[in-house]
């Protein structure tokens, strides 16, 4: 069962324990050295009772882009944290260039030539690009930092790998894509031969993703080994040489990318067949349910509203695309009574709901799936049943003459759990104990049970696994088909394109364009998301 690599560089992977016995994948490693630069053998990591990694083996060659695929919670990040020295494995061994190593911490990982680019950048906003790159390993001239040499090194590295950044700009002034290039440069500056990238495309526009993939190719071509953690099949198919799939902490298999396809990968990742296409009923718009007219905030900044107008009809899903931090959060809060606006108006049917109390807003018929389900959508320490009546608790029959009625709450919770297939061992478990998908289903159940006229769904599938995403999408479409109006805000373009009847693109607090999903492309949307206004796009 042990993966082994023979001298010819042919890789044979025995796979998981019991899941697909005997099945093996064979692939060449395409012109790499004989010895893998990193070999992780039967790594096991437990947290208490929970086995996050169960005897997972993985190897990585120079010049290879190796994708690590798995759903949220499958154990990808844990495995990488073991490799990077954040965690000590409870079992298994790590070899580098054939020698066993015990990686005691990130410092040691750096010393061994392993670099990690985290999902959330670890950069100092006020420092320049160069300063960030050299931070902690500055070239010195006596007691001072040799700035000119530092700048030279940065420029040389940037040129060598095609990572274009302005070495003198401050981090706060550059784009997210550029910030990511700085992170990669930081690793290269420290002499990393192995680069781990944790969900690097989550925050990028499609164009930036494209650029990043090119950079990765160039890095691999120059002999770097790249481990790409992701759950996006498209990127793997575009750029990776091999892919290792893990599911629920176990290895499913490692296979060469050119011998596989999206459907196979998805099935291996999820453990069952995945249907990619949503059954979407034809678009039958009704009357206008929500009108947003020139909404502005008093404050300034890229994420402040600077005049947003759109409307949504009954039976319509209006998607808002955009890169994180362009005013989406402010818009959601302005529509739900959580944020004051300075001018403009928000009408639900004909009734103004701006600058109203959140309770008034939802009593008038707005359901809201909040962006942050842990902080806003749920009270994690409250039992599930209390969370299921979180915004109706004060109404009869849940409160009678000032006294809450736990039995009535539990009865309602029972109904919702049944109707929306929320899986929990008990009504009394704290919301914290539910999986992300079930937490989200609970929120959706709560919001839709009030039969709102408008549903605001903000990042409704963020961090969910494929099965839960399907369930959430189905509920949203069901609501729309029943004549509800939906405002969908998402950073996932695929989601926006799949669900929306109309799409507005948000950039720096404004809607810079409005398009129909079948008349646009990811590229066109990507350009608008980067601030270029749509040309030749018809107002829908």
């Amino acid at each position: 069962m042990k993966p082994k690599s023979d001298q010819a560089g042919v890789y044979v992977s025995g796979t998981t324990h019991g899941e697909k016995p005997g099945e093996s994948f064979q692939g060449t490693t395409g012109g790499t050295e004989h010895e893998p630069i990193v070999r992780m053998v039967e790594i096991t990591k437990r947290f208490g009772e929970f086995v996050a990694n169960d005897r997972i083996s993985l190897d990585l060659y120079r010049g290879e882009i190796h994708a690590l695929l798995g759903e949220n919670g499958a154990g990808k990040t844990t495995l990488m944290n073991v490799l990077f020295g954040y965690y000590q494995p409870d079992g298994g061994k790590i070899f580098m260039n054939g020698h066993e190593v015990v990686i005691k911490g990130p410092d040691m990982a750096h010393a061994l030539g392993i670099g990690m680019v985290h999902q959330h950048f670890k950069l100092v906003d006020r420092f320049t690009v160069t300063e960030n790159i050299i931070l902690g390993a500055e070239p010195r001239a006596g007691f001072t930092i040799d700035r000119s040499r530092a700048r030279e090194i940065v420029e040389r590295l940037a040129g060598q790998y095609g990572l274009y950044v302005d070495p003198d700009r401050r981090i706060e002034e550059i784009t997210i894509g550029a910030g990511q290039r700085v992170e990669i440069l930081k690793m290269l500056y420290r002499g990393a031969d192995v680069l781990i990238l944790d969900e690097p495309t989550a925050v990028l526009t499609p164009q930036e993703v494209h650029e990043l993939l090119n950079i990765l190719r160039s890095l691999a071509a120059q002999g770097k080994a790249i481990l790409l953690i992701t759950h996006k099949l498209k990127e793997i198919l575009a750029v990776a040489d091999r892919v290792t799939i893990i599911r629920r902490g176990r290895l499913v298999g490692t296979l060469p990318v050119r011998e596989t396809d999206a459907a196979t990968l998805a099935e291996m990742m999820v453990g069952r067949r995945v249907i990619f296409n949503l059954d979407k009923a034809p678009f039958q718009p009704g009357r206008v349910m929500l009108t947003v007219r020139d909404v502005k905030e008093a404050r300034s900044g890229a994420d402040a509203l600077k005049g947003v107008s759109f409307s949504i009809r009954a039976g319509e899903i209006y998607g808002i695309a955009g890169v994180d931090g362009n005013g989406q959060s402010a818009l959601i809060e302005a529509l739900t009574g959580l944020r004051r606006i300075a001018s403009g108006e928000v009408l639900l049917e004909d009734k103004p709901i701006h600058n109203a109390n959140p309770r008034t807003v939802f009593e008038s018929g707005v359901g809201h799936i909040p962006e942050d389900r842990h902080r806003r959508g749920l009270i994690l320490d409250f039992p599930l049943y209390e969370n299921l009546v979180l915004n109706t608790y004060y109404q009869s029959p849940y409160t009678v003459r000032g006294l809450i009625q736990p039995l009535a709450m539990q009865k309602q919770a029972e109904r919702l759990i049944q109707a929306f297939d929320v899986r929990a061992s008990h009504l009394n478990v704290p919301a914290r104990a539910l999986s992300g998908g079930n937490q989200q289903k609970a929120i959706i159940a709560r919001e839709l049970s009030r039969r709102p006229k408008l549903l605001i769904a903000a990042q409704p599938t963020r961090g969910l696994d494929v099965g839960a995403i399907e369930a959430v999408h189905r509920e949203i479409l069901k609501f729309r088909d029943a004549g509800g109006a939906v405002l969908l805000i998402s950073f996932e373009l695929d989601e926006i394109l799949a669900l929306s009847d109309r799409i507005g693109v948000m950039y720096e607090g404004r809607l810079v364009g409005e398009v129909l999903p079948h008349q646009t492309s990811e590229e066109a949307l990507g350009l608008m998301m980067a601030g270029q206004t749509a040309r030749g796009v018809k107002e829908a």
Binding site: F47, G48, E49, F50, A52, G73, R248, T336, L338, N357, P358, R359, F362, H368, P370, D372, R375, R376, G377, L378, I379, L380, D381, F382, E386, L390, N391, Y393, Y394, T399, G402, L403, I404, R423, A424, S425, V429, R432, A433, L434, S435, N438
Partner: protein
């Protein structure tokens, strides 16, 4: 600030290991200190227990000592559940005493009615004083800890002024006149049970408040809102709860518990109110009681009992083993130190622990 909130939050019902472990370690620290000072800790602790439980009278007096500790403990715990640290229990207690003393001395009323009105006014004084802190926090952005500490002193000197000008005992000069006997809440049958210890209906009221505390939190709409604000302010806001108003109501009710403690001291124990230059220690001890009790109703009851044993028994320790009174304060402080240390550790690691626990539960749920 988020870390601070998480720190405070970590005190709420940590289970049984933390408080009991802390108590054991606290006694251990006290013993070590006594041993270093040349005292025999076994003799000292035996004397402490002897003093607290040695005779019915002593038990009664220990329970008398427990009464204000329990009420200020409940007061702190109540605010705690809404995410507020009520450090103003001392001031609220003084105001409670003042309200009760004023009614008891100045307002002529028939028996029973007099006592009830005096208690009620005491409670109201404490509650209003508490809600002032809430108002300052909710609508003026003043940190509740700072406002409460300052208002503690304002309350003390205000009370001294009122006693001096309105109800001073001309013979004694340092205290108020006695409240009318119609306003006293002495419970003769209780006193008789404990060899004339100064136990009053106040003790029974305090026990009743343990239930009231639980009922308010878990059976009323108000308690639901209060717990929601405490456990997730942003989610509470999302649910349509007005946080500012909630803060004031919470501090009002929290102050009411302390006000009751103050009123009971006047009407049930002393019969008068003293002009004083420092606060009685009950106010701050209430914080310790609430924290050790995990801000739960029963936990607070048990920890008030323990602290009453420690502080009432300290005199015995001094008498029999010559150990200074302060050693029992050291034990209390050490217990609290261990409770706080565990809360700090847990708040710092909430993220990782939470993730791990969630992970394991998640897989359980998924399997089922």
């Amino acid at each position: 600030m988020r870390l601070w909130d998480r720190f405070l939050h970590s005190f709420i019902s940590p289970g049984l290991w933390v408080p009991f472990g802390s108590i054991v370690l606290g006694f251990l620290v006290g013993a070590i200190i006594m041993a270093f000072g040349g005292f025999n800790p076994f003799v000292a602790y035996a004397a402490l227990m002897q003093k607290a439980f040695g005779s019915p009278y002593n038990i009664g007096e220990m329970l008398r000592e427990m009464t204000p500790l329990l009420l200020t403990g409940l007061s702190v715990a109540f605010a705690f559940r809404a995410g507020l640290l009520n450090i103003g229990t001392a001031g609220q207690m003084v105001m409670g005493s003042l309200g009760a003393a004023l009614v008891g001395v100045l307002v002529p009323l028939p028996p029973i009615v007099h006592a009830i009105v005096a208690l009620f006014v005491g409670v109201l004084f404490g509650a209003l004083w508490g809600s002032l802190v809430g108002y300052l926090k909710a609508y003026r952005g003043v940190n509740e800890v700072i406002a409460a500490i300052m208002l503690n002193w304002v309350a003390l000197y205000f009370a001294n002024y009122v006693i001096r000008t309105a109800i001073l005992d001309p013979q004694q000069k340092q205290r108020s006149l006695y409240v009318a006997s119609s306003a006293r809440i002495n419970a003769d049958f209780l006193s008789a049970l404990f060899q004339n210890a100064r136990l009053s209906y106040g003790f029974l009221l305090a026990l009743l408040m343990v239930y009231v505390f639980w009922f308010l939190l878990y059976r009323t709409r108000l308690g639901f809102e209060l717990r929601a604000v405490g456990a997730g302010a942003e989610a509470a806001q999302y649910a349509g709860i007005r946080i500012g108003r909630q803060v004031i109501v919470t501090m009002f009710l929290s102050g009411a518990f302390s006000g009751l403690a103050g009123a009971i001291e006047v009407l049930g124990v002393y019969g008068y109110m003293t002009i004083s230059t420092v606060h009685a220690s009950y106010g701050f001890d209430g914080i310790a009681v609430a924290l050790l009790g995990g801000a739960t109703a029963l936990g607070t009851l048990f920890s008030a009992f323990l602290f009453a044993v420690l502080s009432y028994g300290a005199a015995g320790m001094q008498f029999a083993a010559d150990v200074p009174l302060e050693v029992s304060r050291v034990v209390m402080a050490a217990i609290l130190f261990f409770v706080a240390a565990s809360a700090l550790v847990r708040s710092l690691y909430t993220v990782t622990l939470g993730r791990m626990r969630r992970g394991s539960l998640e897989s359980e749920v998924n399997r089922s």
